[in-house]
C-alpha cells in the first residue's frame, strides 16, 4: 500500500492559486524528491500534508487512511524555517517535542538519550540551546524530527545551513531510516543531493505538477540517443543519419562532439562508423541530469 496518496489537491488564496489539482503518490521506503522553483507551491503542499493549513479541494491518504490528527504521530517534519526554544535545555526540548508527537514521556526521554548518544551530543543534554554551536543545534533539530520513529519523514531543505560534515552525517541517517522502513519526502533546490539520494521525483511549477515518476524512468524518458565523443582529428565523412549537434575543442587538444542518431540505431553502429573516421578517445551516452531536466521544464514553461 502507498504510504502517501495526494489526490487532486487545490489551494487558492485571494490573489493567487498556490496549488492547482496536484496529485502524487509515494511508495513505502522511498526517498521522494519534491522539486520546483521558489514559490511553486512546494511548501504549501508540505504544510497541507502536515495539517498546518487545509486544502480547498482534494484528499490525502496516509497508509490508505484519510489524513487526520492521529497521523501527527506518524509524521516527522523538518521545516525550512526552523528553530528551537533558545532558553530551553537540550534534553527538555527533545522530550517536549517528542511528547507533542504523542510519545509518552518516559519513551521520549529514553529515545532522546539514545539519539543524542548516537550523534555524539549527549554531553550537552543539560545545556541551553543558546549555548550550543549552530551545527549542534542542527543535529538536535534533526533528532526532534525523527525521534518518534515516524513512518513519513518530510524534510524541507534539510541540508541548508549544514556544514559538509554534518550534511554527510544527516545523509547517512536518512538512508538508514529508509532501510528501517521510513518513507522520506525531500524538498530541495540542491540538485546534486536529489541525484544522489532520491528514488522518485515530482516537479511542481507555478502551482501545477508537471512531472512525476521514478528518477530512472524520468531520466530515461529524457534520453535522446545523443552521445558524446572525444576524438583526435576531424570526423571526415559521417553518414547523414548522424547529426553533429555541437563540437568543441577540449583543453587536451581533443575534439568533443555531441552526436544524435535515429532511435532505431544502436550505439555500436555509431561507434564503428566513428572508428573508421577518426581516433576515438572516449564515448559516452549523454544522459540528462535532473538539474537539466528541471531547468528545461521550468524555463520551457515560462515561455508559454
Amino acid at each position: 500500500m502507498e504510504t502517501l496518496i495526494v489526490s487532486n489537491i487545490s489551494k487558492r488564496y485571494a490573489e493567487h492559486t498556490a496549488l492547482d489539482n496536484v496529485s502524487i503518490s509515494i511508495s513505502p521506503q522511498r526517498i521522494y524528491g519534491l522539486l520546483g522553483p521558489n514559490g511553486a507551491g512546494k511548501t504549501t503542499l508540505i504544510r497541507i500534508i502536515n495539517q498546518i493549513i487545509a486544502a480547498d479541494e482534494g484528499e490525502i491518504l496516509i497508509n490508505g487512511e484519510k489524513l487526520s490528527q492521529k497521523h501527527i504521530a506518524s509524521i516527522g517534519y523538518l521545516p525550512e524555517e526552523r528553530g528551537l526554544y533558545k532558553k530551553m535545555k537540550v534534553g527538555e526540548q527533545l522530550v517536549y517535542l517528542g511528547q507533542l508527537r504523542d510519545l509518552p514521556r518516559k519513551e521520549a526521554i529514553q529515545k532522546s538519550k539514545a539519539w543524542t548518544k548516537k550523534l555524539g551530543i549527549f554531553d550537552w543534554w543539560n545545556k541551553k540551546i543558546e549555548d550550543l554551536s549552530k551545527g549542534m543545534a542542527q543535529k538536535i533539530q534533526f533528532i526532534s524530527t525523527v525521534l518518534h520513529e515516524p513512518k513519513l519523514i518530510i524534510l524541507d531543505e534539510p541540508f541548508s545551513g549544514f556544514d559538509p560534515v554534518n550534511a554527510n552525517l544527516i545523509k547517512d541517517e536518512i538512508l538508514e531510516l529508509r532501510e528501517k522502513g521510513s518513507t522520506i519526502i525531500f524538498s530541495t533546490h540542491r540538485m546534486e543531493s536529489v541525484e544522489e539520494l532520491c528514488d522518485d521525483i515530482a516537479l511542481i511549477n507555478k502551482s501545477k505538477l508537471i512531472l512525476s515518476g521514478t528518477k530512472v524512468d524520468i531520466k530515461n524518458s529524457y534520453r535522446s540517443n545523443t552521445y558524446i565523443v572525444e576524438h583526435k582529428g576531424p570526423i571526415k565523412d559521417l553518414s547523414a543519419e548522424y547529426s553533429i549537434k555541437e563540437q568543441v575543442t577540449t583543453e587536451y587538444n581533443l575534439q568533443k562532439s555531441t552526436i544524435q542518431m535515429p532511435s532505431e540505431y544502436s550505439p555500436n553502429q555509431l561507434l564503428s562508423s566513428l572508428i573508421s573516421n577518426t581516433e576515438v578517445h572516449s564515448f559516452t551516452e549523454k544522459v540528462p541530469s535532473v538539474s537539466e531536466i528541471f531547468i528545461s521544464l521550468v524555463e520551457g514553461g515560462s515561455h508559454e
Binding site: 488564496y13 498546518i52 517534519y77 526554544y85 507533542l100
Partner: protein, 430 residues
C-alpha cells in the same frame, strides 16, 4: 486538549523557573508593607518620645482642675501675673496659662504665655480644658445636676447601611474607595505585565522559527491558548502567593499593633477609654465588614477575564509582527480602553452608581478595572452578573478574533503588516 496542557505546562514551568519570577514574587509584596511599616514605626516612635509638657497655671478664679492631660502636666502658681511671668521666664516649663477671675456669663481674659510660637493643637487642647471648667461652673450656677447631665450624654453611632443587595451591610466610602482603587489599578498593571509576556512569547517563537515545528503537531489555536493559559497560570500563581504573603504579613503586623492599642487604652483615663473603645469598635467593625472574600473572588474573576480579553489581543499582535518594535504601532488601540478605565476611576470614586461608572463597569474592555473600583461600594447583583457575562462573551470574542489572525500571522515572515492585512488574515478561510 492533552497537548494544550503540555504547552500550558511548558509555558508555566519555563516562566516560574526563572530567577526573575522568584525575585518579583517575593520582593513585591514585602516591599510595600515594609515601606508602610517603617513609616508607621517612626511616627509611633516620635509619639512615644514626646514628653509631657509642664504648664504653669495662674488661676485667679480657682476653678480649673489640675488633672494632667496626655500631653500636659499642670502646676499651680500664685502671686500676681507680672511675678508669675518673670518666674516662668526663668523656669524650664513649657507655658504659663493665666485664668482671670472671670464672669461666667462672659468668660474672657484667658492668656497663654509661651517661649515659642504655640501649635494650634496645643491651643485647641487647652481651650477645651478651659471650656470644660467654665461649663462646670455654669452647671453649678444654674443648679443643673451633673449626674443627670452625665446621663443625658448619649453616644450615637449611625451605621450607614447598603440595602440594595438584599443583605444589609455597613459600608465606609473611604475604605471602599482605597480598596477599589488599589485592586483596579493592580488589574490595570497585570493586564500590561502578563499580556506583554504573552506577546513577547509569541514573538520569540516566531523569531526563533520554532513555531512551524510546533504547529505541525498542534493546531495554532491550541498553541495560542496554551500560551495564554500558561501565562495566566503564572499570574494566578503569583497573585495567590502575594495574597498569602501579604495576609500573613498583615496578621503579624496587626498582632503587634493590637497589643499596642490595649496598652495605650490602659494608660488613658476612663472617659477617653470609653470614647476610644467606641471608635476602635467602629473601626474593627468596618474592617470586618469589608467583604474580603468577595473582593478577592471578584478580583480573581476580573483579573482572569480581563487578562484573557487583552492577552489574546496581545497574542494576535505578537503573531503579526517580527520584532517587538513593530508591535508598537498596534499597541495604541489596546492601551486606549485601559487608560480610559484608569481615568474613569475618578468618576467612580465621586459617584459609584452614576451612568459613567455603570457603563464603564459593564463594557468588557473597561469593566475589569472599573468594576473593581465599584465593588467595595456595593453593586446590585444584576449589574455584576451582566458585567461578568459580558466579560466572558467579550473574551470569547477576542480569543476567536485573535485566533483567526494568529493562525495566519505566525507563519508569515517579513511581511509589512497594517490593519488591512490583519483584516484580510481574519477573513481568510482555513
Amino acid at each position: 486538549m492533552n497537548k494544550m496542557f503540555l504547552i500550558l505546562q511548558r509555558e508555566f514551568l519555563s516562566r516560574v523557573k526563572k530567577k526573575s519570577f522568584l525575585l518579583t514574587t517575593i520582593l513585591v509584596p514585602l516591599l510595600f508593607p515594609t515601606i508602610i511599616g517603617v513609616v508607621f514605626y517612626f511616627i509611633k516612635k516620635e509619639d512615644d518620645t514626646a514628653k509631657q509638657k509642664t504648664v504653669q497655671v495662674l488661676d485667679e478664679s480657682h476653678s480649673l482642675s489640675m488633672e494632667s492631660l496626655a500631653k500636659f502636666k499642670f502646676v499651680s502658681v500664685s502671686g500676681n501675673l507680672d511675678h508669675a511671668k518673670e518666674a516662668f521666664k526663668e523656669s524650664d516649663d513649657f507655658a504659663l496659662l493665666y485664668i482671670p477671675d472671670y464672669d461666667i456669663e462672659k468668660p474672657e481674659g484667658f492668656r497663654l504665655y509661651a517661649k515659642s510660637n504655640t501649635h494650634f493643637s496645643t491651643i485647641n487642647e487647652l481651650e477645651g480644658k478651659i471650656r470644660e471648667s467654665v461649663k462646670e461652673r455654669k452647671l453649678q450656677a444654674y443648679k443643673v445636676d451633673t449626674e443627670i447631665l452625665e446621663k443625658l450624654k448619649t453616644s450615637i453611632d449611625l451605621k450607614s447601611l447598603n440595602v440594595s443587595e438584599g443583605g444589609e451591610k455597613e459600608n465606609d466610602a473611604g475604605i471602599s474607595f482605597i480598596i477599589g482603587y488599589a485592586t483596579g489599578f493592580l488589574i490595570y498593571i497585570f493586564m500590561f505585565a502578563y499580556g506583554g509576556q504573552v506577546m513577547q512569547g509569541v514573538i520569540e517563537e516566531k523569531s526563533s522559527k520554532i513555531v512551524e515545528v510546533i504547529v505541525s503537531t498542534v493546531k495554532p489555536f491550541q498553541l495560542m491558548m496554551g500560551k495564554i493559559l500558561g501565562v495566566a497560570a503564572v499570574g494566578l500563581f503569583q497573585v495567590i502567593i502575594w495574597i498569602v504573603i501579604v495576609s500573613t504579613f498583615s496578621l503579624i503586623v496587626s498582632a503587634i499593633f493590637g497589643v499596642d492599642i490595649s496598652q495605650t487604652s490602659q494608660m488613658a483615663d476612663a472617659a477617653q477609654q470609653a470614647s476610644n473603645s467606641a471608635e476602635t469598635e467602629k473601626f474593627m467593625r468596618l474592617i470586618s465588614s469589608i467583604p474580603f472574600t468577595k473582593i478577592i473572588l471578584t478580583f480573581i474573576f476580573y483579573f482572569l477575564g480581563g487578562y484573557l480579553l487583552y492577552g489574546s489581543l496581545f497574542a494576535a499582535i505578537g503573531s503579526a509582527v517580527d520584532t517587538p518594535a513593530e508591535a508598537q504601532q498596534f499597541m495604541m488601540p489596546i492601551m486606549m480602553p485601559l487608560i480610559v478605565g484608569i481615568i474613569g476611576m475618578s468618576s467612580v470614586v465621586n459617584n459609584p452608581d452614576g451612568a459613567v461608572s455603570f457603563w464603564l463597569s459593564i463594557i468588557p474592555f473597561t469593566s475589569p478595572i472599573i468594576m473593581m473600583g465599584r465593588i467595595g461600594f456595593g453593586v446590585p447583583w444584576w449589574e455584576l452578573a451582566l458585567s461578568m457575562s459580558l466579560l466572558i462573551a467579550g473574551f470569547i470574542g477576542t480569543v476567536w478574533l485573535s485566533g483567526r489572525i494568529y493562525r495566519v500571522g505566525i507563519l508569515m515572515h517579513g511581511v509589512k503588516v497594517n490593519y488591512k492585512t490583519l483584516a484580510k488574515w481574519f477573513m481568510l478561510k482555513n
